[in-house]
């Protein structure tokens, strides 16, 4: 096992743990992006450029955007509901 693989594996383990332990979804999206980056370097170290390309594209482009848009929608609905409640009082 090469040194690069060992370092990448440890980085992936740490990033994965950080993603799970971060409770706030917004910060967790950032941690998840870092996990994706560490994974793509790990895949390159394992001799898999196709998989690394997939991982970069998906974890960098598609997933963070969807998570952030979903969170923004949830926050907007919350704020509108709070505004309605405040108006009723």
């Amino acid at each position: 096992m090469t040194a690069l693989q060992t370092v990448c594996l440890l980085a992936v383990a740490v990033a994965g743990t950080a993603t799970v332990l971060t409770r706030d979804p917004l910060r967790q999206a950032v941690a998840s992006g870092l996990l994706g980056l560490a994974l793509s370097v790990l895949f390159l170290a394992f001799g898999a450029p196709d998989v690394a390309l997939s991982q970069i594209v998906v974890a960098g482009v598609a997933v963070p955007v969807m998570v952030l848009l979903a969170l923004a929608k949830i926050r907007t609905v919350d704020r509108a509901a709070a505004r309605d409640d405040a108006e009723e009082l």
């Binding site: 898999a48 997939s54 594209v57």
Partner: protein, 252 residues
């Protein structure tokens, strides 16, 4: 059941699962010495018979093409499911009105971001098409290039051109393209029957390694998957973006 009891039970079962898994991976072949004969055979078939330089893409679209058909249809159904779920949250015509409102208000993003988005659309499109078409030669293929092409929609959105977003992805066109990609893959898979060999057999001429038209049906399937993934991911992303457009409207 109380919170604490659930937590204790959960941690206990996780520990048991962990012990079993560690025991299981202890029995795997030593790291660095895989035992599968398929791994030596597959690249030989790919390189010598099919003239495909990228063994992984060759296996994805030729030797294991049937698995890829299933995966592609999962993607199709998932895009459909996300679109149905998110469209239930909005009324007809609301998107057009929200887009018109946003046009009038003007984009709120910084000038530098808009310029960067506008400049990057062309090269990203070109790069995505390159990755899809060269799947048999270099690392790449339909899946990677497809998601890259779907990212063009995000660049247009980041550039603040809401009306351009509507034009870039007229929704019925995206849906039709998605269906066409999935159908194309299935038809090429069934083409084997037309030529009198098994389904999913590689029936086109193989060409020479390294040229664009090598590998028989592999680049054709790569393009079909690229079209389908682009349209599917664009559909999903555009539904999410629409929800953002509606964020300032009450009752949606």
């Amino acid at each position: 059941m109380s919170e604490r009891a659930r937590l204790v039970l959960g941690l206990g079962s996780l520990a048991a699962l962990g012990a079993l898994l560690v025991w299981a991976v202890g029995g795997l072949p030593a790291f660095g010495h895989p035992r599968g004969p398929y791994a030596d055979l597959a690249p030989r078939i790919m390189l010598d018979e099919r003239h495909v330089a990228n063994a992984v893409t060759g296996i994805t679209f030729d030797l294991r093409g049937f698995d890829t058909l299933g995966e592609e249809l999962i993607l199709f159904v998932a895009a459909l499911g996300a679109a149905v779920l998110l469209r239930a949250l909005r009324t007809e015509g609301a998107i057009e009105e929200a887009a018109a409102d946003e046009e009038r208000r003007g984009p709120g993003t910084a000038e530098a971001l808009r310029a960067l988005g506008a400049v990057l659309v062309g090269p990203t499109l070109l790069l995505g098409i390159y990755v899809v078409v060269h799947g048999a030669l270099t690392p790449g293929g339909g899946f990677q290039g497809g998601v890259l092409l779907a990212g063009v929609l995000l660049l247009v959105y980041a550039a603040g051109q809401v009306a351009a977003v509507e034009r870039v992805r007229p929704v019925s066109l995206v849906e039709v393209t998605d269906a066409l990609g999935a159908a194309a893959y299935t038809l090429v898979a069934l083409a084997g029957l037309v030529f009198g060999v098994a389904v999913m057999d590689n029936v086109l001429p193989f060409g020479t390694t390294g040229s664009l038209l090598s590998g028989g049906t592999v680049p054709v399937l790569s393009v079909a998957v690229g079209v389908e993934v682009t349209a599917g991911v664009t559909l999903i992303l555009s539904e999410f973006v629409d929800q953002m457009l509606l964020r300032s409207r009450r009752g949606d």
